[in-house]
Amino acid sequence: MTSLPEKTGKKLGLVIDLDTCVGCHACVVNCKEWNTSNYGAPLSDMDAYGSNPVGTFLNRVHSYEVTPDTGLAQTVHFPKSCLHCEDAPCVTVCPTGASYKRVEDGIVLVNEDDCMGCGLCAWACPYGARELDQLAGVMKKCTLCVDRIYNDNIPEEDRVPACVRTCPAGARHFGDFADPDSPVSRLTAERGGMELMPEQGTKPVNRYLPPRQKDASLSEIKALGGDIEEPKGLLAWLDKALEAI
């Protein structure tokens, strides 16, 4: 089985703002188009124009309905990709060493040359963040766009994962969680950023910002309570108000 580094230099990852994500799937598709032509095997699509089109995606958005005991039901859009866990069970379970966590930045990657497509890592991942490409027979997962973030061939401002670069609402943020002053660390602290399923003990790096409190008007009574009623009050008010202009 494969070992994890004791400590990584950087802890690169994403902050995903669930209060802002509108569920538009921009990140899903831009991830697909970047990664199908870059790192590793293409992200294939089986039965692409048929009855059961199923392809490989490294990032997907799930939409959930939340029905609280009191108050109005809510819809939460939940983008999900590899969380680049510090204690990544997908790495330790790998029989060939293909799955590994990089010591320099903490990115979890698959060396596809060494991957035999056994699928153990996908079983071990509690988040369902890995997909076995049906055509190539190798395991695919989010690379944090390792071929973008250090890429000298693209402008510096674009050296972020494709999902972050494209997100129209700005709901995705990329950075180093090892640095407590980094924008992602500060955002996490300010907005109560959460780990996903901490009870699994995987110590995910990515964080989710929870939706803000909604529907204040259900509990807060607020009314203008005006008393202008036509016609006399209206004329009196108008006269006074116009005089003040």
């Binding site: 802002t20 870059n38 699509d45 190539a136 250090y150 609402a169 709901a171 209206l234 202009i245």
Partner: protein
């Protein structure tokens, strides 16, 4: 095939991204974002947002990111097609462009010489309307429009008539300053990326969002407050907000008296403005002198309260009538709450919150400016409340008045064209009187007597013959829908089939899937397209259709002109048309062929250039009869609509250094390409707010050629042209409506916004059909285009009907997962799902996911066809009979907008399993089916 990776496996930190980046404009939906198209080995490798582009500022949505799969879609048409089997069979043969043009000319040339109106040319989701309308005008047919009539003409027309612009292309919230953003009826409606960028800005600084929508999805899911209103009652809700604001005196009287017609004196008897006899300009009562004065006289302070006696008549300021109207207890929150599906307390809360933010959180910019009367102001004062609304409120039969009510609300708050509020984008603001009037003057062999579409200001501007019959095939600008500013594309096929008001010969359409998701009553429309007369000839004799893809409508045409993909074409996103301007800048853009077509296809506009020349249309040929423009690109550079003003504003003049006005410049397109595919010209700081009344803005607009003379105006709280229609219905004036429409005109054409029950609800038994039924567009799909896209269809390839939990349980839908949904018009069988975040009297589904078998190069058992469905089958372009011997249109009585969202249904449990019904037989694909698997990028 083994794709076991080799060279690409290693984590290379700096791979080469591509050989070249070409910057053009997206067309995966109508929003016109800038894109960077990466090419490698001549193939499209990656598409990302253009960071410098004013629309999307670098981001790109799911549709745009899936452009590769659209560009290489197996459904692309390959060559012109001539029908060889019966209509609808899908049997075609590929022909040359010369043969295609010959066929088209053989149909069209005789029509032009004898009866140009027998050509109906309707162009769907066209982004080149200033060009396609120019073709239609040169041909001489009055029968031209694009798709606005079945989309959002209520929003556009209500905005233009009320304040000289509406949402989306007309204007935008002041995203950087607004503190409260309220959206009505917005799902993934336009504009896509800018709204998401804006919401992100608001969220980042903790500004609040109120979402008014029966369905809590998308933008409404992230809204801080969700107002799950009952469909069709938005107008009532808005008028209740106005009631609350008026009752508390929370309206911006200073703004209203300066910038609106609040002070215009209205005759108590006739409801018309008191006008200065010499200039014809409306009069106000001046508070300083106590005497009437022309409204725009410098120094005049309109009185909004006092009545005035003149020549035996009494005149009241418009505002007084408005206030008295909406202070009526009938508009109180307690009176309307049940109807709206809300509590009165929540309506009151929203009104209080609007007032609090607008007046207690006022924004002041230290930016001096001068108004159109010459008065200098040392600051700009803003009310940081902004609104946006789209089809959810406009696609109802009370949609025009509802949109009017919303615009009046934002005007009462003083939040239009001020910091933090709603801001116009050039060429707007532009009031209704600055738009053309509609024209339908047909002269065989000659051009039409003027532009087709426009804004009538009085009954005299309607397009009605002496005998009362309609001049246009879609009956636009008649008493049935007098202000139909975008035409009524959804009525063309049924009217042409019925020969009402007359028969046509050739139906020529572009880019609108009228044989499927863009028509109401889809199955019946298919029947009309294939129906024959006693002699066995088709009732609509000739159909020409232009499309890039094998859509459902292709199968019903006789001649197909194959369009290119968006990466293979020239286009101009023109200031003459629907530009990409921002509140702080004028901007336009191009598309150019970043990839060469590998098929015998042609950009539709270039094909129209060729066709126009072969028909010898004025403007399309030189004096010697030779073709004037080689193609659309040539037209984009060299056509001049007015001297010095052409389709593109950037880099004009002999040296290419003029912007706005200037002679055609031969290198103009290269300058656009070098600049990233767009041109932007910033509005001076002093001119960025109060645009209708701002001297500096008016100067700037004239300078760059938006108008030829300054055109300041005030907003229309009271819309006098509506009163003129009402007066005609009361029997005044020479142009009279038919008797059967008089009562409806009186009730619906009120000069102040009114709410009335959606028409379908007044005709159907509401107990029998207890539910409202709606559609929304998914954020990752645009109309029917998404399903042919291998990536996007994996996100959504079948739609379910979402049913509120209580109804779901009561109907026992969990048992089978399928339901029959029945309207007064038809019945469909559909898969269902439970949903709680939904108005409890509403069911809904995703729009245009259902596909006809065989279309779009999908397999016949594609989920889009087996489980996907359209609500369109339940909707008729006519209302159910109401026993008066007439069939009334299922559309807004002011604009004719299709009332898609008035639909009432009932729902029953159906046996389990598909297919969804009606199940149409498969079409034969003219381009075959798509490949089994894709591994895009393996070559790179």
């Amino acid at each position: 095939m083994s794709l076991k990776p080799t060279a690409r496996t290693e984590a290379r930190p700096s791979p080469k991204v591509s050989d070249e980046i070409r910057k053009t404009t997206c067309y995966m939906c109508a929003c016109r974002c800038g894109i960077d198209v990466h090419l490698q080995d001549g193939k499209v490798k990656y598409i990302e947002g253009n960071r410098d582009h004013p629309v999307n500022q670098g981001v790109l949505c799911a549709k745009g990111s899936a452009g590769i799969m659209q560009h290489y879609a197996p459904s692309r048409l390959r060559a012109p097609l001539k029908r060889t089997g019966p209509r609808g069979s899908g049997h075609f043969e590929e022909i040359s462009w010369d043969e295609a043009y010959d066929i088209a000319v053989s149909w069209l040339k005789p029509l032009r010489e004898t009866a140009p109106e027998k050509l109906a040319f309707f162009t769907g989701r066209d982004q080149s309307q200033s060009f396609t309308s120019w073709f239609a005008q040169a041909f001489g047919t009055p029968n031209y429009a694009a798709h606005g009539g079945f989309c959002s003409v209520n929003m556009a027309a209500a905005g233009i008539y009320t304040m000289g612009g509406a949402f989306w292309e007309f204007g935008q919230p002041d995203w950087d300053r607004t503190k409260l953003f309220m959206i009505f009826g917005v799902a993934e409606d336009h504009d896509s990326n800018p709204i998401k960028i804006g919401l992100g800005k608001l969220k980042a600084r903790g500004a609040k969002v109120i979402g008014v929508n029966p369905i809590r999805s998308g933008y409404n899911a992230v809204a801080d407050e969700w107002i799950g209103i009952t469909p069709g009652t938005d107008g009532l809700f808005v008028l209740a907000l106005i009631h609350e604001l008026l009752k508390a005196g929370k309206v911006d009287l200073g703004y209203l008296s300066r910038y609106t017609n609040a002070g215009f004196l209205i005759g108590e008897e006739d409801g018309l403005f008191l006008r200065d006899p010499d200039t014809g300009k409306p009069m106000v009562l001046d508070r300083t002198t106590g005497k009437p004065a022309i409204y725009d006289t410098p120094g005049v302070k309109p009185d909004l309260a006092k009545t005035h006696r003149h020549a035996g008549a009494t005149y009241r300021p418009a505002f007084l009538t408005l206030a008295e109207t909406y202070l009526d207890p009938a508009f109180a929150p307690d009176a309307v709450a049940d109807r709206c599906g809300l509590t009165a307390d929540r309506i009151k809360w929203v009104a209080a919150e609007l007032a609090r933010v607008a007046f207690d959180e006022e924004i002041v910019l230290d930016q001096p400016w001068t108004d159109w009367k010459g008065e200098r102001h040392d600051r700009m004062i803003g009310r940081p409340v902004a609104f946006h609304a789209m089809r959810g409120i406009s696609a109802h039969s009370n949609g025009f008045q509802t949109c009017r009510a919303l615009h009046v609300l934002q005007i009462l708050l003083g939040s239009v064209e001020v910091p933090g509020g709603f801001r116009f984008k050039p060429p707007y603001p532009k009031p209704p009187e600055a738009h053309p009037k509609p024209h339908a003057g047909v002269r065989p062999g000659e051009p039409l007597d003027g532009p087709h579409l426009g804004y009538p200001m009085a009954p005299e501007h309607l397009l009605v013959n002496e005998d009362g019959s309609a001049k246009r095939i879609d009956k636009a600008f008649t008493w049935e829908n007098p202000f139909s500013a975008h035409g009524l594309m959804h009525m063309v096929i049924s009217n042409a089939h019925a020969g009402d008001p007359y028969r046509i010969d050739t139906l020529f359409m572009y880019m609108a899937n009228m044989a499927w998701n863009s028509s109401m009553n889809t199955s019946e429309v298919i029947r009309m397209l294939t129906d024959t007369d006693a002699s066995g000839e088709y009732v609509i004799p000739h159909i020409i259709y232009a499309d890039a893809y094998s859509s459902e409508t292709v199968a019903y045409a006789d001649l197909i002109l194959p369009d290119t993909t968006y990466l293979e074409r020239h286009d101009c996103i023109s200031l003459l048309d629907r530009p990409i301007c921002e509140a702080e800048a004028a901007a336009d853009a191009i598309r150019w062929p970043v990839a060469e077509p590998d098929r015998d296809v042609k950009g539709f506009q270039s094909a129209l250039i060729d066709l126009g020349a072969r028909l010898g249309l004025p403007g399309f040929v030189n004096e010697d009869g030779s073709q004037k423009f080689a193609d659309y690109a040539d037209y984009m550079v060299n056509h001049e609509r007015r001297p010095g003003v052409g389709p593109l504003a950037g880099w004009r003049g002999e040296n290419g250094d003029c912007h706005g006005r200037g002679a055609p410049h031969p290198d103009q397109l290269q300058k656009y390409i070098d600049n990233g595919g767009f041109w932007i010209g910033h509005i001076p700081e002093e001119a960025q707010f109060y645009k209708p009344w701002n001297q500096a803005y008016q100067d700037w607009a004239v300078e760059i050629g938006l108008f030829d003379a300054q055109a300041p105006y005030v907003f229309n709280l009271y819309l006098e042209p509506m009163r003129l229609l009402q007066r005609a219905a009361e029997g005044h004036g020479p142009v009279q409506p038919p008797d059967h429409l008089r009562e409806r005109i009186k009730a619906t054409m009120t000069p102040l916004p009114v709410w009335y029950e959606p028409f379908e609800e007044t005709v159907v038994d509401k107990d029998e059909y207890p539910l409202h039924a709606l559609t929304q567009r998914p954020m990752h799909m645009y109309h029917s285009w998404g399903s042919q896209n291998a990536w996007l269809r994996q996100i959504t390839n079948a739609n379910k009907l979402y049913v509120p939990g209580k109804v779901f349980d009561e109907t026992g839908l969990a048992e089978t997962g399928w339901a029959y949904v029945t309207s007064a018009h038809g019945r469909i069988k559909v898969p269902v799902a439970r949903m709680e975040a939904l108005n409890e009297r509403t069911v809904w589904t995703w729009n245009a996911i259902g596909k006809k078998r065989g279309a779009w190069s999908l397999s016949d058992d594609a989920p889009e066809a087996t489980n996907g469905f359209l609500l369109n089958h339940l909707i008729n372009e006519l209302l159910p009979p109401k026993g008066d011997g007439r069939r009334w249109a299922n559309s807004d009585p002011v604009t004719g907008q299709a009332a898609w969202f008035d639909l009432r249904v009932k729902i029953e449990k159906a046996p389990p399993g598909g297919p969804s019904e009606p199940a149409h037989p498969p079409l034969k694909s003219p381009v075959g089916k798509g490949p089994k698997t894709i591994a895009y990028g393996e070559d790179f």
